[in-house]
Subunit: 362 residues, 2 copies
């Protein structure tokens, strides 16, 4: 009996400490704190007083175990550092905390092992949803992998949400929030073509990244639409970073490649390209035009400000969270389609100052 651990001695105070000290039952304390049950004013006052005195907060783990608990979303990303991520995360986190939800963040570092470990970890945490961010490699393996994740999560009462990734094929319990990637690239390339560019250097990104593939094919479609032959030799794949933009342009210049514009797969790549052009004594946009993709803050901080494709990252985050919240309210079994949802948001070209008709028409 007296072997029970000392009241508020070690560790945090428990609901029992509060109950004893307030001279009421544990159940009553729980009711007062949950607020979803009628209690007398007197009781409420007594309990709250003690809660203040003890600086008591509920143990979230115990609460979850017993049924209650704050819903939590997990955001998994390759690299926290990307600006695009930050905005999606902001969207998710904002929408989450608006509803009193919590957000967890994990980084995979592009390591499939780690991704799996994280998904399982999140499953252990009993998160309401796992949001996976960013493009994917290797389509087939990806489909298999995500299918497994989706089912595992679903079986555990959670849900998989893919943001900015290809939707899953077949009957898989997952939600995809996507943007019109190809459409944006199409529009961006069209913009370049419409002002007269014909020889454009294309830096789509990693060859095996779905996002990059979509952007490239969107651009190709634009060339076709304009009846301009698309020269595969003008395409240079590489990672989505500043370095690649710089190196690709520098190399092209060195090799004497003839181009009047650069279509970068990312604003950051565009920034690198711009720098390389400058280093070679070329002016932007007088000598060479440049366009990016993403419309992160950097785009408008460059000189000249970058014409690019706006991707509604933050909204995607909000939409993703809303999707899982709605689904959760709808209750189990009331899934939209058996194959999950696929939401796609629009993109649009933001015209700034990095494009100009080519000096000497090709």
């Amino acid at each position: 009996m007296s072997q029970r651990k000392a009241p508020a001695d070690a560790g945090r105070a428990t609901i029992r400490d509060v109950a004893e000290r307030a001279g009421v039952s544990v159940a009553s304390v729980s009711r007062v704190l949950s607020g979803n049950y009628p209690v007398s004013d007197d009781l409420r006052r007594r309990v709250m007083k003690v809660v203040q005195d003890l600086d008591y907060v509920t143990n979230a783990h115990a609460r979850s175990l017993a049924g209650g608990g704050t819903p939590t979303v997990a955001i998994l990303i390759n690299n926290i550092t990307g600006a695009a991520f930050a905005h999606v995360a902001q969207g998710v986190e904002g929408a989450a905390s608006l509803r009193g939800w919590l957000s967890l963040v994990g980084t995979t570092g592009d390591d499939p092992e780690r991704e799996l470990a994280l998904v399982n970890l999140m499953r252990q945490q009993g998160v309401a949803a796992v949001v996976l961010l960013g493009g994917a490699y290797d389509f087939d393996e990806y489909q298999l992998r995500m299918g497994r994740f989706a089912r595992s999560l679903d079986a555990a009462g959670s849900h998989l949400v893919l943001v900015g990734r290809p939707p899953l094929e077949g009957d898989v319990p997952a939600t995809t929030v996507d943007y019109d990637n190809g459409g944006g690239a199409y529009a961006m390339a069209s913009h370049l073509l419409s002002v007269g560019h014909r020889r454009v250097l294309v830096l789509p990104g990693p060859a095996d990244l779905t996002t990059a593939q979509d952007r490239l094919s969107g651009a190709q479609r634009a060339f076709e639409a304009y009846g301009v032959p698309f020269d595969p030799g003008m395409v240079r794949h590489g990672s989505y970073d500043y370095r690649h933009g710089y190196d690709a342009v520098e190399a092209s210049l060195r090799e004497g490649v003839d181009f009047t514009a650069v279509l970068a797969g990312t604003d950051v790549v565009a920034a690198g390209a711009m720098q390389a052009l400058r280093a070679a004594g070329l002016r932007v946009p007088e000598d060479v035009s440049i366009v990016g993709y993403d419309d992160i803050p950097l785009a408008s901080q460059l000189t000249p400000q970058l014409t690019t494709v706006h991707v509604p990252y933050e909204e995607m985050g909000r939409v993703a969270l809303r999707a899982v919240a709605d689904r959760r309210e709808a209750g189990p079994g009331r899934r939209r389609g058996s194959d999950g949802d696929h939401l796609v948001l629009g993109t649009h070209v933001v015209v700034r100052h990095s494009v100009q008709p080519p000096a000497q028409p090709a």
Copy 2:
């Protein structure tokens, strides 16, 4: 008896489902999974088989309740979107996952109410530590507030870590990981002065933000050291963003303020300043030199690349996590100093291409 819920029917499978199906005791399953206890190979095989079949993962909440559990760090920030944050978060998250710890993220949006709510929420979650990021306003209130947080957290077996914020005064159970803010500003201003600049426009940031105050006073010290009178009229406070950099320079130019260099409180502010200079037909650094602070990726992506002060954000994150991990291993009661720790990392100037001696010596 048979009223027990159906095995792996609703929700996720439990350890009991695994035990039954494997024909062993719950305790054995726990042992196999924890791995911290001798078990026969046969038992291990049997259990693992079922675990795979059922795609079972332990319930983290139950585990925490029962004693085990994954330590978790909470990172609280005003705004996820800042590049500096991303790097600190990366440092924390990286170091955390290295140790198998989890990271939670919450945004306060500069709202004290929300900050309090989040700290309490984290307390509920039983996090091992709460890491608060970013400068602070209103020094006295800040001290009081943080003191309260520190004690609450400490009483609950958690710990407060302040990163890039002023340390707490007095006997408060908190750890501060700081950087030599004033020193960096001193060095940066000295650099400007040493190449001959005398009339420098200073854009320190928000007047009431401690970070900005430190940077300003550091710069002032440099002026004193160089025997150059510091003109308060050349200081323009404002928020830490692109817009402010742009506006401040534009206004100064319009008002005919005479300056040969601008000392920006942040790389982003510097970017705005640079743009405004360009818009006014001024060249950087030929006509006006510019320096920033932070050394975020943007700094090297601008043209010309920005000379700035490197702040070891990611390392601060790592150090912060290491500090709490160490403290936790050391066990309760084995705190370093009764007033907590105060670690301060160094900063240094990164010379790039945005500074040049003034065209016409003042």
